[in-house]
């Protein structure tokens, strides 16, 4: 893709992902409604889709309040970080053979870097709020992210070994014969769990944990600044789903339909799966989550790396 072309695509992506995240808020509520024997927002516009606009108007017109006891600069800066980091993460996602913003040779590492940056958003928000619930949320977030970052990266090493490249495009193309989720099912499993933890959604929404910490790290946030966190969360959800599709389910590959459509369809299915998880699973306790991460997930990813490496070496020989 030419520079100009990728610039245009970047712009399109910016609007599409933000729009997608906004629609996703409505879609998730409808879907949860169906699974929970109720309607969800169904009043405004066809199927209630006008709710998206109504919510947006509400959030945009809310009082933009900064608590006097907070650290003002950081308080405002924090929610932007998560949105920026997540948006940047989309730059390396290959939506089609020629449909991406940039094809970095370290694309995967770039993605991991960006999601790690998003963690700062939560931490800074928690610290800047100067609120005890936020502080507890921040503590949980720090611990959760450190534990889950570790094997998030490691869980993808199997894929990298099979491909021999960090480039996202190369990874998708290498799946032409066999999608990675078959040889890399352990990788998929661990990455998915790390992904939910990373986008801190139920069941891993411990930094927020409404029932325990009221709203956790964003207790003091309201209006647009709160909306930024929501946007960040949904962008994160879309990004993780896109990555799962690209890394394990053959990205844009598929018969008959155009590549971009295939990619979107697969991402949609993964997103639905994430929403289903949210509807179905209770929240583990913070120390149970840590135990899970370090005692089960990390050894599992290491096992995956050793096995994949061994098999790859053996096949080469």
């Amino acid at each position: 893709m030419s520079d100009l072309g990728s610039m245009y695509f970047g712009l399109f992506l910016l609007l599409a992902t933000i729009g997608g995240a906004a629609v996703l808020t409505w879609f998730e509520r409808r879907l949860l409604g169906i699974w929970q024997d109720r309607y969800g927002p169904n009043r405004l516009g066809p199927f209630g889709i006008g709710q998206v606009a109504a919510d947006m108007i509400k959030l945009l017109t809310k009082d933009d309040w900064v608590p006097p006891f907070s650290d003002r600069v950081v308080f405002i800066f924090a929610p932007t970080t998560i949105v920026v980091a997540m948006m940047l993460g989309f730059a390396v996602v290959p939506f089609g053979p020629d449909l991406y913003v940039i094809d970095l040779n370290i694309g995967l590492l770039f993605f991991l870097g960006m999601t790690s940056l998003a963690v700062y958003s939560v931490l800074l928000a928690a610290l800047a709020s100067n609120n005890k619930y936020a502080l507890l949320g921040g503590l949980r977030s720090a611990a959760q992210m450190i534990s889950y970052e570790v094997f998030m990266g490691l869980s993808l090493m199997g894929v990298v070994m099979l491909t021999g490249s960090f480039s996202m495009r190369a990874i998708v193309e290498a799946q032409a014969d066999l999608w990675n989720f078959i040889p890399q099912f352990l990788g998929l499993f661990t990455f998915m769990i790390a992904g939910i933890a990373e986008s801190h959604r139920l069941p891993f929404d411990l930094p927020e944990a409404e029932h325990e910490l009221t709203a956790g790290f964003h207790t003091e946030y309201g209006g647009m600044k709160f909306a930024m966190f929501m946007l960040g969360e949904y962008l994160g959800l879309i990004l993780i789903s896109c990555m799962i599709v690209a890394l394990f389910f053959g990205g844009w590959l598929g018969p008959f339909l155009p590549p971009f459509v295939w990619f979107c369809l697969k991402t949609f299915v993964v997103i639905c799966f994430f929403i289903l998880l949210r509807a179905a699973i209770p929240r583990p306790r913070y120390d149970q989550l840590m135990t899970w991460g370090w005692k089960y997930m990390l050894p599992l990813t290491l096992l995956n790396v050793i096995l994949t490496g061994g098999i790859a070496l053996a096949m080469k020989a």
Binding site: L136, A280, I281, R283, P284, Y286
Partner: protein, 582 residues
Amino acid sequence: MLNAQVSNTNTTVDDLFARFGEHVFELQPTPDNTPTLWLDRAKLVEVLSHLKPEFPMLLDLFGIDERLREHRHPASSDFTVVYHLLNFSRCEEIRLKVGVAMGDLCVPTTVGVYPNANWYEREAWDMFGVEFSGHPNLRRILLPPTWVGHALRKDHPARATEMEPFSLDDEKQAREMEALTFRPEDWGMQRATEDAEYMFLNLGPNHPSVHGVFRIALQLDGEVVVDSVPDIGYHHRGAEKMGERQSWHSYIPYTDRIDYLGGVMNNMAYVMSVETLAGIKVPDRARVIRIMMAELFRISSHLVFYGTFAQDVGQMSPVFYMFADRERLFGIVEAITGGRMHPAWFRIGGVAQDLPKGWEKLMRDFIDSMPARLDHYQKMAMDNSILKQRTVGIGTYNTQEALDWGVTGPNLRATGMDWDLRRDRPYGGYEQFDFEVPVASNGDSYDRAVVRVEEIRQSLRIIRQCLDNMPEGPYKSEHRLTTPPPKENTLQDIETLIHHFLNVSWGPAIPAGEASVPIEATKGINSYHLVSDGGTTSYRTRIRTPSFPHLQQIPLISRGLMIPDLIAIIASIDFVMADVDR
């Protein structure tokens, strides 16, 4: 005469007479036949310690202001403190009464004998100004610390119109704010150890998971709860004080709002006490209707518990299913009573109306569909491994601790105590029903849920028996104090017309006396100790609610656990704040 009868038939009283001498006690006859003994405060602790092995639970402790009472017992003084004890093996109760005079309002504390006396004594101090010497922490509990006067004294105003208009100037506001400051030292907590400071977290009164306006101040080391102080009273609405103004009849709607998830279950405890005072026998049909509606509300309350329990451990969906069921249940309640959550439908001497045409079908459809849905919920919530991880072994207490702290109902049965008033001392007609009493063994948060889930099934069973065997006959007693009285007779003779007129305009005048009828309500033992002075209103209405003692023991079972565990414990205890604060 009755003194002799009671003492002849009651072994506990005989035993007390033999041990301490008959001159120490004075027997007071009561319409509910619960042995009621007056004694001197000097002997109180000794007698209670003697009774403790036999009567392991202090069911209730409260005060009565006797100063305006006409039908007073000769042994009484200006104020009375009542100790209500419960024995489980023989299902017996006993009341001890201590009279204190105005200038010398002091009673020795009984915290050393019954630990749960702590909050009750604070409440009696708060409401009547009776001091309990030796009490570890005698301060106000339901009213704010800045309150002036003791609200349940007869000379304390009950209505805003009897007082000066309320005003809040800057100085007063500052004083109120100052009084709200949490000082850990007041509760025996350290602010810091040698190497670390504790964090004090104010959980509530506005918090998503405290089920109402309940505040609990936490002393935290990281996320570990070192100690906690429950703070109640935010939901206090003076329900007991209102009982002294409302007529016997018009107080019924207030009872609905005590355990506001229990609906007519509250009416049941209240009207049964009034009927005991008045000597009304309720016809069979009314008895069965009452049991059916009460069990329906037990299901409703337990469904709310089930859903919010799952929700508080972070499971999002179950609560919606349970509320959908509850909605259908309320449809039936509405068809029968006209109301939904608070039908106020029981009457002194019966129920408000007869069952409407077609109620059987509604009820049968509901109870037929529920078992399958409960199976579904079992798989969805109770069998979920994360939910188990979050609740098994969390917030554990054993039977002895439960008895010491006044824990009743499902929370007591979760410890393995196989005891249920409905079966072991049937009231209101429960002896005719066939049902099991679910019991668990570990006394942890999970078991408390298990017991309740099984109770839903047993309640369905009871309702089915009501459906199959609903007796014919009147839904109201013919007794002259039945309110409102059966209308048909009023046009026949002048006597009934007069009663009708008086009972409806002034309200019935209930004969003087004292009675309480404990019932197995949705959350534990609920009873209304009613004192009648022969008038159209109650002289004293004491509401014994199960949730009050349940909250008192939260600090004990949550020490050393984490905040999420505390939330699981709060969810599993199943309380509503109106039931605590009244």
